[in-house]
């Protein structure tokens, strides 16, 4: 028999968790329940966080967007502040799962599952998100790159949970994109993905370029050396190709039932060209 606890507040949650320290946390359950059904995870006690409204807020303060760990993907889609300040996160959420999954699944769950294929992660890596981790007594804030240490592995210590995600608002005139390839258009596990951020001068000279790569390594990957290639260069097809090809060589994809490692590398090589497509589109139509 499994016990499921449903605390109504953070205080109640802390009390329960210290009484049943072996309990597993559940947010939307869209990862946890799948893994329980497959027998991959065995648990006796579950603490469901769904009633703790404090964890469901999206705020803006001090140049940062603060997103509670229980914020659902649908909330990310619906929040005007996200659309305005972090459109790339919104774009990633829009490509995640299906309407049902987006209503149940949360940003905290997506991060704590720590799957290299998780769709919000490339955007969070790109934006240098930091995570507020709480225990009953302690609070710490760590960069997301330090939090996720391997496939399905995090640096959460015992009794620690993800309280909130802090995302710095990018400086004006940056554009960011998320591109994903899955086996179909919805309800698709990511085969490979790229989030990219560009700050361009009016003549298309790149002031800053960042790239993060999903599902082509043990965690989401960034290659700062490769990013530098762009600096002060004009955005062009050969340049983007170079970024793609160099990055592809640095990735460490696996072959699985969704796709081969080869195909994943090919996607990485090609992804940056999508930026050209997207930037051209913006240029000629002035929309999007």
């Amino acid at each position: 028999m499994k016990n499921v606890f449903l605390p109504n507040s953070i205080e109640e949650f802390r009390q329960i968790w210290s009484a049943v320290p072996d309990a597993v946390l559940m947010a939307g359950g869209t990862d946890l329940l799948v893994s329980l059904r497959e027998g991959k995870t065995k648990v006796k006690n579950i603490i469901s966080l769904e009633r703790i409204s404090e964890l469901r807020h999206i705020d803006c303060s001090g140049g940062e967007i603060l997103i509670g760990s229980l914020v659902t993907h649908q909330q990310i889609l619906d929040a005007p502040i996200i659309a305005e300040a972090l459109p790339v996160l919104r774009q990633a959420a829009s490509l995640l799962g299906s309407p049902a999954v987006r209503h149940m699944g949360t940003i905290g769950g997506n991060i704590c599952t720590a799957s290299p294929a998780a769709d919000l992660l490339p955007a969070l890596y790109l934006l240098d998100a930091r995570l507020e981790l709480h225990t009953e007594r302690t609070k710490r804030t760590v960069p997301i790159t330090d939090f996720i240490i391997g496939p399905r592995q995090t640096s959460l210590s015992e009794g620690e949970f993800l309280y909130r995600i802090r995302v710095p608002i990018p400086v004006p005139n940056t554009r960011a994109y998320y591109f994903k390839v899955g086996q179909r258009k919805a309800l698709a596990i990511t085969i490979a993905s790229m989030a990219a951020l560009l700050r361009l001068d009016t003549d298309m000279t790149v002031l800053e370029g960042r790239f993060s790569w999903g599902s082509v390594g043990p965690t989401v990957l960034r290659f700062p050396e490769t990013e530098k290639i762009l600096q002060n260069q004009k955005l062009s097809e050969p340049l983007l190709k170079e970024i793609g090809e160099k990055s592809a060589r640095l990735t460490e994809p696996i072959s699985d039932i969704q796709a081969s490692a080869d195909y994943r590398r090919m996607l990485v090589s090609n992804f940056p060209l999508r930026l050209l497509q997207a930037e051209k589109y913006t240029g000629s139509n002035g929309k999007k």
């Binding site: 299906s98 390839v181 086996q183 179909r184 258009k185 919805a186 309800l187 698709a188 596990i189 097809e237 039932i257 969704q258 796709a259 081969s260 080869d262 195909y263 090919m266 996607l267 090609n270 992804f271 060209l273 999508r274 050209l276 497509q277 051209k280």
Partner: protein, 770 residues
């Protein structure tokens, strides 16, 4: 309030819609009889192994376990399947594929069931296994059935016409192609499910999700050793089937369980994973073609070799092979032909019926060959098809005489006149950066019914109820496609009553009459014709009785109206209730048998292939058009527009007709683009719906469906529409993709990975346009 009658040819809201959308329709999986036990099976862990010992004692001891049964507990032959009875209910001497059921457990709850299944120990002697049908045909291949004279060859067939292969050398243009088609999983919403119990009269009652309740009863009688009159099978609405429930799934296990449950009902319902492991699939196929034509594009010669992997048991594999051969030359006049087919046992999952029943495989081959050849001859693909397509009276390359309505040329012309076709070049030329566009067509047909030897008989029964309403005793299961509402529609038209005046009893071997399977595009054709006969007889009986009751009335002046009979000359009326009360039960019931027309022309094929259905007499036809856009950066294919022109005879209900066309196309798109059911060394790699990729709503474009309504001998001029839609997305989309890429991918499905690899291996194909 007047209840509107719904004339044939107009939309009649489905009588099953309301209950289904409200979630109150009771499917087989929804039955939880009082005091029931859960049934579950221990399945084979090996693809091929001898069973040395089965140790059940630890399982028996688990609290809550009611029975642990092995093949030794089966009194009958322990074999099911038609026509070849080769599949054990529980494996006896050996297992032939992973997932073979070996031990049946009955338990109070699922926990106890699972625990007991874990505690069963089976000692196997692992045998060499074979997973490739060509390997299985080699003389030294491991044998699945040591005693079979044909060894691993289930069935082969040869069709030879004219000078056969020799005529290829007389052709101006010849092309060759080898195609590899994947397995396809039915993936119905409702996995295999049912309940069973022995009633107070000692009758084994089974309610199951089945397309074949009457055939099931006969097979169960044989396998379990019970007389057929001691078995009753009922088939409520199915939550989908597509051929995957054409025959026994859990029924044998349920029956066996109920016979050893201490008079308690038993229930079995497979999980998605178990369903994927144990259910049948569409036959994977290898096709090798040569096709040639004259200078003017007139088809002259064809050779084709077909190899089907039927897996560990025959199921309907032989009949599927017959259908592949019949459809392998498509809708064309080809005078010189040599077609050869092999259906082979392997230690893979069992392949059997799947919507289209072999036609999708045959047409995927020939229709891609036609495009290759048209290209080679420099003739527009649609013109090429029009030059060679059959009219009524012609014989196809496979030797099938088109004796009945043949609307393929009208379908082709309808596509040719459509703006999507006329403006195709502009559309292709306007592909955006990093995109390639292509347009493809395909044409084909779908044979209806069981073929020339096995009679396609339906027996309908209708009753005038004491209250003046009517009851239809359906002999054919409704898998979701709408047979039941259509039967009410048909009966309503003949008896001039509103849909509400009918109740419909779903197939029940205890009270309905055997009418064959719900399959083969024949369900409405055959049962509908029988129903018309039964309703007409009943109508005549009602009017005759009205003459008896209304003195001075004459038959020809009487009108059967809603709830009453009206004498048009006098204006007098008599209610149907009054008429019913004057009748004995026998008089109120009308029965009619209908036998579908079968092909009579002389045989051009071996007798086994003929027995298994070659050739058909009545065909539906279609021509499809697909417009695709390929992303050069990822290989992803987007189907942007899709048009189907279909000749399935007259339309009874435009809504249900369109649903069948749309559903068929979507399932066909899944077949060609996404549904890669992978089995490796007998291991099912696609364990669930996360790894078996079915299309979602956003993957499918708006579908356009146009009808060519030829007149046929089905009810009100109809022909079957349930399967034709699935036959052509494979070749139409493959042809469009080939046009876009400038080269063809011969192995399906056309996943983005295959497309990108193809693009990257092509020196010109990988470059963007600018």
């Amino acid at each position: 309030m007047t209840e509107a009658l719904a004339p044939i040819g107009t939309v009649l809201t489905r009588s099953d819609a309301s209950a289904k959308v409200q979630g109150c329709e009771k499917y087989a999986a929804d039955y939880y009889p009082q005091g029931m036990l859960w049934a579950g099976v221990k399945r084979s862990a090996y693809a091929h192994a001898k069973i040395l010992r089965i140790e059940t004692s630890k399982a028996v001891e688990v609290t809550g376990v009611a029975a642990v049964l092995t093949s030794g507990d089966i009194r009958g032959s322990n074999r099911v399947g038609v026509p070849e009875m080769d599949q054990p209910v529980l494996a006896d001497d050996k297992v032939r594929c992973k997932g073979d059921p070996v031990v049946l457990v009955l338990a109070e709850n699922k926990k106890a069931l699972e625990l007991a299944l874990e505690k069963i120990e089976i000692d196997y002697e692992v045998l060499p296994a074979v997973f490739d049908p060509r390997e299985a045909l080699k003389p030294d291949a491991p044998l699945l059935y040591e005693q079979r004279p044909g060894k691993n060859l289930l069935l082969s067939g040869t069709l030879e016409r004219g000078n056969g292969a020799a005529s290829l050398k007389d052709c101006k243009f010849v092309v060759e192609g080898r195609f590899k088609l994947p397995w396809q999983e039915h993936a119905y919403l409702e996995t295999e499910a049912g309940v069973a119990g022995i009633n107070s009269e000692g009758i084994l009652e089974i309610t199951a999700s089945t397309q074949t309740p009457f055939r099931d009863r006969n097979e169960l009688s044989h396998a379990l050793g019970l007389p057929a009159d001691k078995i009753r099978v009922t088939a409520p609405y199915l939550g989908g089937a597509f051929g995957g429930k054409d025959g026994i799934t859990v029924q044998g296990l349920l029956g066996l369980g109920a016979m050893h449950s201490g008079d308690r009902p038993v229930k079995m319902w497979t999980s998605r994973e178990e369903s994927f492991l144990s259910s049948t699939k569409r036959h994977p196929a290898e096709l090798h073609y040569r096709l040639g034509c004259t200078q003017d594009g007139i088809l002259l010669a064809m050779t084709c070799e077909v190899v089907l992997d039927t897996g560990a048991y025959a199921a309907l594999g032989g009949a599927v092979l017959a259908m592949v051969l019949e459809h392998a030359a498509g809708v064309y006049r080809i005078p010189n032909v040599f077609i050869e087919g092999f259906c082979v046992y392997t230690n893979n999952s069992v392949a059997s019926a799947f919507r289209g029943f072999g036609a999708p495989q045959g047409l995927a081959g020939i229709e891609q060959m036609i495009d290759l050849l048209a290209d080679e001859a420099g003739i527009d693909a649609l013109k090429f098809r029009l030059k060679n397509a059959v009219n009524r009276g012609d014989t196809t390359g496979s030797g099938v005489l088109m004796s009945n309505s043949t609307g393929i040329i009208s379908c082709l012309k309808k596509v040719q006149r459509h703006p999507l076709w006329i403006n195709r070049q502009d559309w292709v030329n306007n592909a955006p950066a990093f995109k390639k566009r292509g347009v493809g067509t395909a044409a084909g047909m779908q044979g209806t019914g069981y073929g020339p030897v096995i009679l396609d008989i339906a027996n309908a029964k209708t009753e005038l109820l004491p209250d003046g309403r009517f009851r239809i005793y359906s002999g054919v299961a409704d898998m979701g496609q709408g047979n039941n509402p259509t039967n009410i529609h048909i009966a309503g038209e003949i008896l001039n009553q509103a849909p509400k005046d009918f109740e419909l009893l779903q197939p029940d071997t205890g009270s309905c009459l055997p009418s064959g399977s719900s399959s083969a595009s024949r369900t409405t054709f055959s049962f509908g014709n029988a129903l018309i006969g039964a309703c007409k007889n009943l109508k005549e009986r009602i009017l005759t009785r009205a003459c008896n009751l209304m003195m001075g009335a004459y038959f020809e002046n009487l009108l059967l109206a809603r709830g009453k009979v009206l004498d048009m000359t006098s204006g007098r009326e008599i209610s149907l209730q009054a008429i019913a009360s004057s009748m004995t039960e026998q008089e109120r019931i009308s029965i009619f048998s209908y036998i579908a027309p079968a092909a009579k022309h002389p045989e051009s094929v071996n007798s086994e292939i003929r027995f298994l259905g070659f050739p058909h007499r009545i065909f539906s036809f279609a021509c499809h058009l697909a417009l695709v856009e390929i992303d050069e950066l990822s290989g992803e294919i987007e189907v942007c527009d899709y048009l189907a022109c279909t000749d399935a005879g007259r339309i009874l209900n435009p809504q249900i007709y369109e649903q069948q066309i749309h559903g068929g196309i979507v399932q066909g798109m899944g077949y060609v683009l996404w549904e890669d059911f992978r089995i490796h060394n007998g291991d099912v790699l696609c364990r669930n719906l996360a790894t078996y990729i079915l299309p979602t709503a956003v993957d499918i474009p708006d579908l356009q469906s146009l009808a060519v309504e030829t007149e046929e001998t089905g009810p009100f001029g109809m022909k079957g529409v349930g399967e034709i839609g699935i036959n052509l997305p494979y070749p139409a989309i493959s042809n469009a993709v080939a046009q876009a890429l400038g080269r063809r991918i011969y192995e399906g499905p056309l996943t983005a990975e295959r497309v990108l690899k193809c693009l990257n291996s092509n020196p010109t194909g990988g470059k963007s346009e600018d």
